[in-house]
Symmetry: C2
Subunit: 339 residues, 2 copies
């Protein structure tokens, strides 16, 4: 295990190589008060002590209002830590209530972070996801059913649009393990707050963390690193496939955000995987949100595009359909799909 | 669950669609006596009863000589079953001894099957791997560390060269689950032999079968199907990437099975994933066996090819090295690597 100084040096070198963060960058660090985000904040603060980066760091703590008293204590803990490090800190309380879904909480959190980043002119929001989080995400996506995009799990840099506001997320800790971060905090005598939430949508992730990964680790130690490597390979493959699919141009510009038309002969010789990617990306090409088509529907449509001898019509779901004629492939979005 | 007749019909239709097996084909069915291979034999025999396929089926049973008396009883069981179905049967005893590794046993088994297939002019050897075997293989490859080729797991058709003899393996049952095959045998009142071997190299697979998959299934039912789907997607992606990498031509034909030369400018703009694939496939391009380079070495070499500003030399391991000059990339195989 690296010394605290060793871990700071390692991350510093990594950030030099990766260009994830830039000198004089303004960054909003999302700190829940848990070990991971406390370690992120202390590591960045330590790295910023050298004469190279000159970052402007700010702390943001989002209190979902789900955990009652413990929430308030988390907020005080983060505010105190920011003060000790002489960093400005915003604490925002959302009052989502105990019935909010995990997804609703996530969107509200990201929306608030995007607003704060804009207000403070920050270039990115920094998140504390680490190698074990990444391994859990790979397994979670796998058991829910995913393709290469899901297997790629979390990127170290990602731009999202939340309520029409763009937000850049950066994850500088993806190559470090939970154990390394905990050891770093122990060595610094830096406390953190334990998150006691165990709401039902996090149930699968908790079981992966506490049951599946330890079991896999007992069969073959070092599993988290190998899952991270597979995620990196899948991310590369997905980017290669997206680039290749993007070279397949529609026969004419899309009309009224609802119709994409391709020449059938342009699609006939194309690899089935690229056809599926083209269909998967069709909503984005129409500047619509991307729904999750099922693999079966995509495969059926790709097969029909390649092989149908007669005009055919395949429903992709979510209001999308593919119409196959002798010469054209038409992908249509029905804004008001039949109920 | 399908009826016995339903399962026969389903597989029959699948074989019509997939063209995995051809009418009047001559096939060697590998039967251990376990449930899976007994189900394969009975299903194929039932399908062959119709007036379409006219296959010539033969049974081959390989006795590894590892399990002593149980081995001999397995062999008698398979010979009796073949006789009931009026099919010719070869029983070959290998006498590998109790210390043989799983890999040595596998190679010896495939070698024997290839010899038998050749002797009887069979077009392919049929194996009983099913959807649950495939899911186990995906997880096994993942925990050992794999890329997309490992994630693709087993193909339904595969040509191998064992001791310079080509053998085509076909797996007609990959879309059926263990439960469906067992139910089929139960409904037929067809017994099978339980395999009691639990030799150490099979330890990881056994733990995946009996601990990991049931745990994942308890978190999210239907995991095996989704892992099979991911394997199919990975196989498609791998074939797409191999095809793309194969279009990158050396600057001149390889010399003496030891040297591949590329123009550096031909490789400079290439996606890192394709560069890694090119390096991974280099031994095959030199008509050498393909060793398993580590992901780190491949990544390091691909990075150097794209970015090195000075001549560089990277060892890939297994006697292979990449030499980078101002204008050339040379991949060399040292037949006698230094010890």
């Amino acid at each position: 295990m690296a010394t605290p100084r060793g871990l700071v040096q390692y991350l510093d070198q990594q950030l030099h190589r990766s260009s994830l963060l830039v000198p004089r960058g303004r960054y909003l660090v999302a700190v829940s008060g848990g070990a991971d985000s406390v370690a992120l904040l202390r590591l960045l603060h330590a790295i910023n002590g050298s004469d190279h980066w000159h970052w402007t760091l700010r702390v943001a703590h989002i209190d979902h209002g789900i955990r009652g008293r413990a929430s308030a204590a988390d907020a005080r803990f983060v505010a105190r830590l920011a003060k000790q490090l002489s960093l400005p800190c915003d604490v925002i309380t959302l009052r989502l209530g105990t019935t909010a879904s995990e997804d609703a909480a996530r969107r509200a959190r990201l929306d608030t972070l995007a607003q704060l980043a804009r207000k403070h002119r920050c270039h990115a929001v920094l998140l504390a996801h680490h190698a074990d989080d990444q391994a859990e995400t790979v397994l979670l996506h796998m058991i829910r059913g995913c393709g290469l995009d899901g297997l790629a799990a979390m990127q170290d840099r990602q731009t999202l649009t939340i309520n029409r506001r763009k937000i850049t997320l950066v994850r500088p800790l993806l190559s470090l393990t939970r154990a390394e971060l905990h050891a770093y905090l122990h060595d610094l005598h830096q406390p953190w707050r334990e998150d006691q939430t165990n709401t039902s949508p996090r149930f699968a992730r908790n079981r992966i963390r506490h049951e599946v990964l330890p079991l896999l680790e007992s069969i073959r130690p070092g599993v988290a690193n190998r899952l991270n490597q597979l995620a990196a390979i899948a991310a590369d493959a997905q980017s290669l496939i997206e680039t290749a699919a993007a070279t397949i141009r529609p026969a004419r510009p899309p009309r009224r955000r609802s119709t994409l038309v391709f020449a059938r002969k342009a699609l006939r010789e194309i690899h089935p995987l690229l056809l599926r990617e083209l269909l998967r990306q069709a909503p984005a090409s129409l500047r619509q949100p991307m729904p999750a088509f099922t693999f079966e529907r995509l495969r059926e449509a790709a097969h029909a595009i390649a092989h149908a001898r007669q005009p055919a019509h395949i429903e992709l779901g979510h209001g999308y359909a593919v119409h196959i004629t002798g010469t054209q492939i038409v992908i249509k979005h029905n804004a008001h799909p039949p109920r």
